[in-house]
């Protein structure tokens, strides 16, 4: 009763990774157990809690609702890949810490990925937009209030960094 295995190639956090997996292997399990990227968590395995959210070609997806073979050839960003190359946490990661937007931290990677994509598309969200952006992820610890605060704080950090970069570019050009 040996299963057929498939070779998949994924670009995860900028690195090309290969795995040989059965067709039924979930992307979440492939990332966690085949590639050792355990930062992506599994909270329900039926696509409701959002803890397993990763970015597939930049867009948030629930990695428990996708087979690894389906993701073959695609680019994936997990929570391990959100920090910058130099290891400095991203604005979203910093804001979550600053605003006490996590307690047990189990759901956090999913929120971080979802919010990262959201703020890329909408760098200055309204209260309503921020609420909608995080309303597909479950958290049992925080009551969400500080998560919402963190979304706005991350937008602020991101904006000030862009501004700083622009000033630096201008000075460099002058």
């Amino acid at each position: 009763m040996n299963e057929t295995r498939h070779r998949v190639t994924l670009k995860v956090n900028g690195v090309v990774r290969e795995a040989t997996v059965p067709g039924r292997r979930l992307l979440s399990d492939c990332l966690r157990h085949d590639l050792g990227l355990t930062g992506t968590h599994v909270g329900c395995e039926h696509g409701v809690c959002g803890a397993c959210t990763v970015l597939l070609d930049g867009e948030p997806v629930r990695s428990c609702l996708m087979f690894a073979v389906t993701a073959d050839g695609h680019e994936i960003t997990t929570v391990e890949g959100l920090a910058r190359g130099d290891g400095e946490p991203s604005p979203v990661q910093r804001a979550f810490s600053e605003c006490h937007a996590l307690q047990c931290g189990f759901c956090t990677p999913g929120f971080l990925c979802a919010v990262t994509a959201f703020l890329r598309d909408n760098p200055a969200p309204s209260e309503e937009e921020a609420l909608e952006a995080v309303s597909g992820n479950l958290c049992r610890c925080t009551g969400y209030q500080n998560i919402l605060k963190a979304v706005h704080r991350a937008a602020e950090i991101q904006a000030s960094e862009i501004q700083a970069a622009e000033i630096q570019a201008e000075e460099g050009g002058a």
Partner: protein, 794 residues
């Protein structure tokens, strides 16, 4: 002291790893371990006739299949009854794997071990179990009827029956006090089941070291020390050969204090037997049907009161549904019946509960642990009295409050720790004043009238509670300062997101006068600290916080003694600032704690430059005395324990404004206000976070969450798709204010905060919906459909 961090909103030290994917939760460990999976009963009540595993034997790489018949010695016995009580006359616990009878859907019957979880589940699906289906008992009243039994040898399905009575003045019993009161009310209340549902389920991972004959277990538990003892006992291993580590734990809220779970002993047993690493990670459906639930109660209330609304007599009869087994005893109904009294003085009180078996998942504490039910009862009583007398609801509460001058206040009952229920401190009138101001209680009538003029229905509600926190018997702390100046703190209890690494470091940094960056904290690792009780009952900060403070004081005293000798000063003149001991007012006369640590440990061998200073030819000691003085120990470390005479009592009051839709009966929380008193705050940011999270769980319990069992004992909503846990869109913004009445019982003056947020929420929302609708709300949770039907019945 310059390094005073106690009371500051210090950023969490846990976060750096948790926001970068560096956390180590149970299923993140043990790459390559074998996977366990379980065949669980699909029936609520059945007799096992036959288990046929033959079809599963062909599964690729199958390692083992176990049933009850394979279990040796103590493993084949029922799981421990953790908290016996004289009133629990018919306590029953499950076998690790079902023996003959299954008593709820989800009970484990067969354990499979395979190379990975996919294959293990393949094997489970191929195992055929034949059952003779028995009549299930579902629902409190069916259980109380006793027509069918969950356990053949438990008549009437009654596991426990307990009466507590506090007579009034002159020994008047509660029944007489109610009958003699100027006014009387009688009513019934119903509270549904809910559950902790942490985002990470349970999990166990075991490594057997055959050469060493030792076992290391990682468990997503709230008590690693007790899991360790349970495993050693069940497997017949010497305690020193068993280590249990709670890694990062993805939420607990009570369910993970229960132990040993069947999997917690079966997985280590299999790891030893197979001499392979074995891991089991609970999936979401397993968590719904095979861990624990809470809350479900029916309460019958009789209250007698005077014209001012003062309660002269109160009689409460509780039917408590504890599910199929009672591993955690009757803690939940005991807490309901004792904490029901809240911040009030009741003339005479009688409470009686029957704790009943049903063919459903067992009931053990979920954050709040019986208090939400008790507070629902008392606060509904207060509202009903106010309505009856035509008085303001806060006025009736104020008329019954224990006054600030009346502490310590003895409620005359026995609490969950077997100790008298004596409140240590509080200021309930002030808390209510603050709450009314925060929510705008006195001007709400105008808001309501204005809304009504626009065709909108809004209502305001209030709820008060007192929470016994920091129950004993004890916790300990160990503090060691090493020769590099670092401070290593450990305590035996565990963490599930409460920020213990931060708050305990704040306490240690403050007590020792060192920068917090020098302090590291380890919790829940029996290799570091073997004696502990666990994390529950809002006790971690109170118990381990104080134990660590006491251990730090021991270390500080020793450091000052050694430094005084080195500096030729009086220890009483010394201070520690920024990790350096110095003579007060003379910064130049100083010695770093790192050096003190070196001096504390007389050495023969120098392994680095610091150590050279403590060796025998370095001239560090006196020739007339032994290198380690009598009564001293080498090393700059200390261990101490905190064991309180009784619990400390936190309190709080919540208010909410809700809007109900006249057409759809949807209930929206417009505002939610909290006044909270947990004594001195160690870290206000973390306390606020605990309150937010608690209120969110309370909102779930008040408006959305229930366990929908059908008459066959099938849980119809065993998924996040159907069990409606609140998302961000369902939780209101929470406004908070803090009152600090320090506890006189412990050195730090603190009280617990973990459960507080959840406790009064159902009572508050019921109060507000009742105010908006003018319909009595006696059953929680309340859905739009429930409210719609109540409107039709009006």
């Amino acid at each position: 002291m310059t390094t005073r961090l106690f009371g500051e909103p210090v950023q969490r030290r846990e976060d750096a790893r948790l926001v970068t994917g560096g956390g180590r939760y149970l299923d993140d460990l043990g790459a390559g371990a074998l996977a366990a999976a379980f065949v669980r009963s699909p029936h609520a009540h059945a007799r096992i006739l036959d288990i046929d595993v033959s079809a599963a034997l062909d599964v690729e790489g199958l390692v083992a299949i176990y049933t009850w018949e394979d279990l040796p010695g103590a493993l084949a016995e029922p799981l421990p009854l953790l908290i016996p009580h004289p009133a629990l006359t018919h306590g029953r616990t499950a076998y690790p794997l079902a023996k003959e009878i299954v008593r709820h859907v989800g009970e484990p019957v067969v354990m499979v071990v395979a190379p990975d979880r996919y294959l293990a589940e393949d094997a489970c699906a191929l195992i055929r179990v034949d059952y003779e289906i028995l009549k299930p008992v579902v629902g409190i009243e069916e259980a109380a009827g006793g027509a069918h039994l969950v356990h053949e040898d438990v008549p009437g399905n009654v596991g426990a029956h307990l009466v507590q009575e506090v007579p009034g003045h002159g020994g008047v019993p509660a029944r007489e006090a109610v009958d003699a009161a100027p006014h009387r009310l009688e009513f019934r209340l119903d509270i549904e089941r809910s559950a902790c549902t942490p985002l990470e389920g349970k999990g166990v991972y075991a490594r057997w070291d055959a050469d060493d004959g030792s076992l290391r277990i990682y468990s997503s538990t709230q008590t690693s020390t007790s899991v360790r003892m349970a495993i050693a006992a069940k497997l017949g291993l010497p305690l020193p050969k068993v280590e249990v580590v709670a890694p990062d734990v993805g939420g607990g809220f009570g369910v993970k204090i229960v132990h040993p779970w069947p999997e917690e002993i079966l997985v280590p047993w299999a790891a030893r037997l197979l001499n392979r690493e074995v891991k089991w990670t609970e999936d979401r459906r397993e968590h719904f049907v095979s861990s624990s639930h809470e809350r479900g109660q029916v309460q019958r209330v009789r209250a007698g009161f005077d014209d001012d609304g003062r309660v002269l007599g109160l009689e409460v009869e509780i039917l408590h549904d504890h599910g199929a087994y009672t591993p955690y005893g009757i803690i939940v109904p005991i807490i309901t019946s004792t904490q029901l009294l809240g911040p009030y003085k009741v003339g005479a009180y009688r409470v009686e509960f029957s704790s009943l078996y049903t063919n459903t998942v067992q009931v053990t504490p979920y954050r709040g642990a019986g208090r939400p039910q008790g507070v629902f009862c008392m606060e509904r009583t207060m509202d009903k009295i106010a309505a009856y007398l035509g008085k303001d609801r806060t006025e009736v509460r104020a008329a019954n409050f224990i006054q600030p001058g009346e502490f310590p206040y003895d409620q005359g009952l026995m609490f969950q720790d077997g100790r008298p229920l004596i409140y240590d401190s509080g200021d309930y009138p002030e808390a209510l004043r603050m709450l009314k101001e925060l929510i705008g209680w006195d001007s709400f009538a105008e808001d309501k009238a204005r809304a009504a003029a626009e065709g909108r229905r809004i209502g305001i509600g209030v709820g008060c509670y007192v929470e016994g926190t920091g129950v004993g018997p004890y916790e300990g702390g160990h503090v060691q300062i090493t020769s590099d100046g670092r401070v290593h703190v450990s305590t035996g209890l565990t963490s599930q997101g409460q920020g213990h690494e931060t708050v305990f470091a704040q306490i240690a940094a403050t007590e020792l006068g060192v920068p917090i960056e020098k302090v590291s904290v380890v919790t829940g690792d029996t290799r570091r600290f073997g004696y502990a009780v666990g994390t529950f009952a809002s006790r971690a900060a109170v118990m381990s916080g104080n134990a660590i403070a006491l251990a730090c004081r021991k270390v500080r005293e020793k450091a000052l003694r050694i430094a005084a000798e080195a500096l030729e000063a009086d220890p009483r003149d010394l201070e520690i600032t920024d990790g350096t001991v110095h003579v007060a007012g003379v910064p130049s006369a100083s010695i770093p704690l790192a050096t003190v640590a070196v001096l504390s440990n007389p050495l023969r061998y120098a392994f680095d430059e610091e150590a050279r200073r403590a060796t025998q030819f370095a001239g560090a000691g006196s020739d007339d005395r032994p290198p380690v003085a009598e009564g001293e120990e080498p090393g700059l470390e200390g261990r101490d324990y905190y064991s309180p005479v009784r619990s400390t009592f936190a309190a709080g009051m919540h208010a909410a404004i809700v809007e109900t839709d006249p057409d759809t009966a949807e209930i929206r929380i417009l505002r939610y206000a909290v006044v909270h008193d947990c004594g001195k705050l160690i870290n206000p940011m973390i306390v606020e976070g605990q309150i937010h999270g608690g209120v969110a769980q309370g909102v779930g319990g008040a408006l959305y969450e229930k366990m929908a069992y059908d008459e066959h004992g099938q849980l119809l909503n065993a998924s996040f798709m159907d069990f409606l846990m609140p998302y961000a869109t369902e939780v209101p913004h929470i406004e908070t204010a803090h009152l600090e009445t320090p506890s006189p019982l412990n050195p730090l003056g603190i009280k617990g905060a973990g459960e507080a947020g959840v406790i009064p929420v159902s009572a508050v929302i019921a109060s507000a919906v009742e105010d908006a609708e003018g319909i009595a709300i006696d059953r929680m949770p309340i859905s739009p459909s429930d409210l719609h039907h109540l409107r039709l019945e009006r």
